[in-house]
């Protein structure tokens, strides 16, 4: 059935535009590959870098396999604790993608609800919500995320900081992330609610909540989809930056940003592979997401068709 759905989609207008764009096809292929390898990390990674029984200190700082002292199975070398870099990257990618997707999901849910409420109800609700949105936008988002993250960690007892690190990150990114969704949904809701189908639903006695959810919401989602794709790239970057600055994931369960932070400490001792490979993976993911988002924006823009 899934196969049939995919085949149908490939035959649609959007599918045709997708097939005509080698950049979009390549980006999606890279993303699927990266996501699959990250999800299956426990199965396909040569070792579990956080299981002490599988890590050997005498295998420390082995360079990548194509260099003179390279050693099987450490394709991309090992770090000073003897952890396999490729395995760390696979596990780290899982963490980065997980936090990125969760942050987008949370900010999208909050933003769409607020946008619907503001656009549909209008009046003082609209005024209040949009004033809050303006205020959020008048402080640099990176600064907000760092502060929220730092304060949340300071307030939590030390034992809870590591288990909740990912939750704190998602919250601190979503706190500013919802505004964009709220604005786009509000704008289209204000147009949609005046249209005849919405008026008709109201006349036959459908409740406001149901009109919002079942009638207006589906008609506002196209720009949300584009924003969500582009924001996934931003969220992954934000998480990496916070982790690099030391207010994100701890070194016991590192994301790609935390891996780069660790590698950065060995920058001058010639162990370049600790930094370069996680950075390349991070760049590759965000680049693919952005290219896909750009394509989606053009494909869904009726003015360009």
């Amino acid at each position: 059935m899934a196969e049939g759905a995919i085949r149908r989609w490939l035959g649609s207008d959007m599918g045709l535009s997708f097939r005509a764009s080698p950049v979009a096809v390549a980006s999606l292929a890279v993303l699927v590959l990266v996501a699959l390898s990250a999800l299956l990390a426990p199965l396909i990674a040569p070792q579990n870098p956080y299981d002490l029984k599988q890590v050997f200190i005498d295998k420390a700082e082995i360079p990548p396999i194509w260099m003179r002292d390279g050693e099987w199975p450490f394709l991309l070398g090992t770090d000073p604790q003897g952890r396999d870099v490729l395995s760390s990257i696979l596990y780290g990618t899982r963490m980065s993608l997980l936090i990125g997707v969760a942050a987008v999901a949370v900010s999208m849910t909050i933003g769409v609800s607020i946008g619907l409420a503001a656009g549909f109800l209008g009046g003082w609700v609209d005024n209040l919500l949009m004033r809050i949105a303006d205020t959020v936008l008048s402080i640099p988002t990176l600064l907000v995320a760092i502060l929220v993250s730092a304060v949340a960690r300071a307030l939590l007892p030390p034992g809870l900081r590591e288990p909740f690190a990912a939750v704190i990150l998602v919250a601190s990114i979503s706190l500013t992330g919802w505004v964009q969704y709220a604005r786009t949904v509000r704008a289209s809701t204000m147009v949609e609610r005046r249209k005849e189908y919405a008026q008709a639903a109201r006349i036959i006695g459908v409740s406001s909540a149901r009109i919002m959810r079942r009638h207006i919401l589906p008609n506002t989602l196209t720009p949300v989809l584009v924003a969500a794709t582009l924001n996934l790239g931003l969220a992954i970057l934000a998480e990496a930056t916070l982790s690099f600055l030391g207010v994100g994931m701890p070194i016991t369960q590192p994301s790609l940003g935390a891996l780069i932070r660790i590698g950065n400490q060995y920058l001058f001792s010639g162990v370049w592979w600790l930094v370069v490979f996680p950075a390349v993976q991070l760049g590759l993911i965000v680049l693919s997401v952005n290219l896909l988002g750009d394509w989606l924006r053009d494909a869904l823009n009726p003015k360009l068709n």
Binding site: D134, S138, I139, I146
Partner: protein, 326 residues
């Protein structure tokens, strides 16, 4: 016009009061300031005395009020970590950050504008396509990773440029500058490039979009018909019409650059206020965090307000609109 001016200023003041409230909440409720400032052996009398001196015995609204008035005078208290006046600490670090931001801005204009013009004029050429792709790459690569890779290539491997610090600085009054010494200028190269990378792509895309629009207008066609040289048409006639939005965006972005400089400063151990802030975050040095938040937000809000007011002066429609709604 006056109504618009007042409304816009009130708006800005409201945002700053909200930011001040957030900073105050952090200051007041993350850890007990008294416990953080005194050592373990302090007596109860000493604690009470400090509590009164900090004004923590007063009511909540009064405390907020005095926080705001102190902040407006630039008094943010004593750093928990260095036991120094916060505003003195920040003033010491301010020149380093502003110099970095200045270099990044100049670089972004000097590189971004020509690239934008080129990608617009030769939009289907191989080079322009490559640059367009490169601009997506510039947005996708995290700036800290770019900085680290630059250090790896130009400092660790080639040994051409310093990897950290400001080099030698010259003191001019209270301002310290690295622009006047060779080592100071060398030290600015890598951080400057790292910070400006995103900005270069932004300027390039903006100039390209504006140029594509301008190149279609009649006066450009007429200039071509007059037989002017292509270079003169693109740079002297078309580009000039595109510079207004570029100037606006560059101005607005300065706030963002100051905020983002904290990442670059961490990578290059650049002794600016961003690094001060990141270190303060690690040590939960609340007064420094609160002061930095207030300062950067102030720059942000001030720039936004100025740009809005400038637009209202230039474009009468905005004033009309404000009268109707206000």
């Amino acid at each position: 016009m006056l109504a618009f001016l007042i409304r816009r200023l009130l708006n800005a003041a409201g945002v700053m009061l909200t930011v001040a409230f957030l900073a105050f909440m952090i200051f007041r409720f993350v850890g007990d300031p008294v416990e953080l400032m005194l050592n373990e052996q302090a007596t109860q009398a000493q604690r009470d005395e400090l509590r009164v001196r900090l004004g923590l015995d007063r009511s909540f609204p009064l405390q907020y009020l005095s926080f705001v008035t102190n902040a407006a005078r630039g008094e943010f208290g004593i750093s928990y970590r260095n036991q120094q006046d916060v505003i003195v600490l920040i003033a010491e670090r301010l020149p380093a950050t502003l110099e970095l931001v200045l270099v990044a801005t100049v670089l972004s204009l000097a590189i971004g504008i020509p690239l934008g013009v080129y990608t617009a004029i030769a939009r289907n050429s191989w080079g322009a396509q490559l640059l367009q792709f490169g601009s997506v790459l510039g947005v996708s690569l995290p700036s800290f990773a770019v900085g680290i890779l630059l250090i790896l290539v130009f400092s660790v491997t080639l040994g051409w440029l310093p990897a950290f610090g400001r080099g030698e600085v010259v003191q001019i009054g209270w301002w310290s500058t690295g622009l006047l010494t060779p080592s100071g200028r060398m030290a600015l190269v890598l951080p400057g490039i790292t910070l400006s990378l995103f900005q270069i792509t932004l300027v390039m895309r903006l100039v390209r979009a504006e140029m594509l629009e301008t190149l279609r207008t009649d006066f450009i066609r007429f200039a071509r018909a007059r037989g002017l040289r292509a270079r003169s048409v693109s740079f002297r006639h078309a580009l000039r019409n595109c510079l207004m939005p570029v100037i606006t965006v560059t101005g607005l972005q300065i706030g963002n650059l100051i905020a983002f400089a904290l990442v670059t400063e961490t990578v290059f151990q650049w002794p600016g206020m961003g690094l001060l802030f990141v270190q303060a975050v690690t040590f939960v040095d609340i007064p420094v965090m609160a002061a930095y938040l207030m300062l950067v937000s102030f720059v942000f809000v001030a720039l936004n307000t100025l740009v809005d007011l400038a637009y209202a002066v230039v474009d009468p429609r905005l004033r009309q609109d404000s009268v109707k709604h206000g």
